[in-house]
């Protein structure tokens, strides 16, 4: 993996007159020594896995802690009534994001994109897009390369780990990746892709990682919905021609600096924030009693 900046990807794309996603595909071919077909087949299998994970969602089960499960079913029932303020695309994105997060908490098979805790963001956006738009499978796979390229740059020059950079590094990164992918699907070029990613990440800077009882459940699952919705909102703004005043690569650099400055008590250590509230303490105590 050779890209430290989004501008390195777009420069190659412009020089060689190939799309953003193809730069990432060719880099993967070189990096892992695989053919184009092999790389695309692997990416296709990721799409198949998220499609299956979404279809197999089971609202009747809950996680080992008892904190997670069933919310995706509630949102689906609410959507089916058809009188929500946000009927249609957005509500379904929210539903799918929460469902995938819950499936993860309930030990179902998912794809970490980029992490298990943020596994609902990109699938929510892409699977809803497939359902609402007449789009070829090939293009969705290309969009996953776009997402992967953005994720690689963030992982290399900042972080995708909550313990290292807070939740901005997990849900924020997933949101940026999803936004770039969506801008591409909507016909956006390099400019729209990187600004959709930048606008999304910019608006999730500073997010802490303070989950209750150290589990990937509260607030992680519902935050997947926020990441996914942000991706839709800011990719649309990018498609409208809105641009980030801060250069996209500088947004990623900022995320890195903010992540380092965040005190460790807010980076997956359970020492501050939501994790030490009265509600959280009650839950943690109940769990430790039942698990001793």
């Amino acid at each position: 993996m050779s890209f430290k900046k989004l501008s390195e990807i777009t420069a190659i794309s412009e020089d060689r007159k190939i799309p953003f996603w193809q730069v990432i595909l060719e880099d993967d071919m070189k990096e892992r020594g695989v053919t184009r077909e092999e790389s695309m087949k692997t990416m296709g299998s990721m799409l198949d896995t998220i499609t299956e994970a979404d279809a197999k969602y089971d609202a009747s089960i809950c996680s080992a802690s008892g904190m997670a499960g069933g919310d995706g079913g509630k949102i689906e029932a609410f959507r089916m009534k058809g009188n929500s303020l946000i009927d249609g695309f957005i509500l379904e994105v929210i539903e799918k994001a929460v469902k995938m997060g819950e499936s993860n908490a309930c030990m179902k098979r998912i794809v970490a994109m980029p992490t298990a805790g943020s596994c609902g963001v990109i699938p929510a956006v892409l699977l809803t897009y497939i359902k609402h738009k007449n789009v070829e499978r090939e293009r969705i796979i290309e969009a996953l390369y776009v997402a992967g390229g953005i994720g690689e740059v963030i992982a290399t020059s900042a972080s995708i780990s909550g313990a290292e950079g807070g939740c901005q590094a997990e849900i924020g990164s997933a949101g940026a990746m999803a936004a770039g992918a969506l801008a591409y699907l909507e016909g956006g070029g390099n400019e729209e892709i990187v600004h959709a990613a930048a606008l999304t990440l910019k608006n999730m800077l500073g997010l802490t990682c303070d989950p209750v009882a150290g589990l990937v459940e509260v607030p992680c699952i519902k935050r997947n919905a926020a990441g996914a919705v942000n991706a839709v909102v800011y990719s649309q703004m990018a498609m409208a021609g809105v641009r980030s005043a801060i250069e996209p690569d500088e947004v990623i650099e900022s995320m890195n600096r903010i992540g380092r400055l965040l005190p460790s008590c807010l980076k997956e250590t359970g020492q501050e924030g939501l994790a030490i509230t009265k509600s959280a303490e009650k839950i943690t105590e109940r769990l430790s009693m039942s698990w001793q």
Partner: protein, 226 residues
């Protein structure tokens, strides 16, 4: 890190470190033992001990010991499966000090009486480090064919081993050397880009000054070796 560490891995949730990484540690331990497990003594440490239950770390470790990989649908049922197979599984606190926050000590006994103990660390994402084998330093990731040679600290052993690898066109990805003291017990841990042929491992085991040879292969048991 490659593209499919970002878009991937495919895994059973909820946590890449506490679940997927734990499966991988169990899996590597099982492969290093080289035979079916009849008993597993599992000591949890740090965050594995504190939050392992809620992350399914216990089921994940046992799933790996049963030979499952991190995307196996059966991971949540592993404790039940182990019981049905009559495998004795015991959980407790690990008796280790100053270890990585996500550490586990696994002691396995196999069907033919072979024994193995490892300390595994889940270091982030689904990446792992096997820190110790049978009490001696190891430090490898399980992502490469890995050759671990325990030998006397004498001149020439590194040359013998690396010379053998060169002869078989096995490229070294990483190599580490440790020793307890000058002239005492030493260990070399070599991660390779290709598999090391079985007969060279046998040759190595019979060398003077070589105390033990452990090999972790990426080739699945039951598959043909080429």
């Amino acid at each position: 890190m490659n593209l499919f560490d970002i878009i991937g891995p495919v895994m059973v949730g909820p946590s890449s470190s506490h679940t997927a990484g734990a499966v991988k540690i169990g899996y590597v331990a099982r492969r290093l033992l080289g035979e079916n497990v009849v008993s597993a003594d599992i000591g949890l440490y740090g965050s594995f001990l504190a939050t392992g239950k809620g992350h399914g770390t216990d089921a994940a470790l046992v799933a790996g010991i049963l030979g499952m990989k991190m995307d196996d649908d059966n991971i949540p049922n592993s404790l039940k499966i182990a019981k049905e197979k009559g495998i004795k599984v015991r959980f407790g606190k690990a008796d280790i000090k100053d270890a990585h926050p996500n550490s586990v000590e696994i002691k396995l006994v196999g069907e033919n009486g072979r024994q193995l103990s490892i300390v595994g660390e889940s270091v982030g994402g689904s990446l792992i480090n096997i820190a110790k084998i049978d009490g001696l330093d190891a430090n490898f990731s399980g992502d490469f064919p890995t050759l671990i040679v325990h030998n006397q600290d004498q001149p020439g052993h590194v040359a013998e081993v690396t010379g053998m690898l060169a002869e078989k066109s096995v490229n070294i990805a990483t190599m580490q050397l440790y020793r307890a003291n000058r002239g005492g017990n030493a260990v070399m841990v070599i991660e390779c880009d290709q598999e090391v042929p079985e007969k060279y491992l046998e040759w190595l085991k019979n060398l003077d000054g070589v105390n033990k040879v452990t090999y972790y292969s990426l080739i699945e048991e039951g598959e043909n070796e080429f």
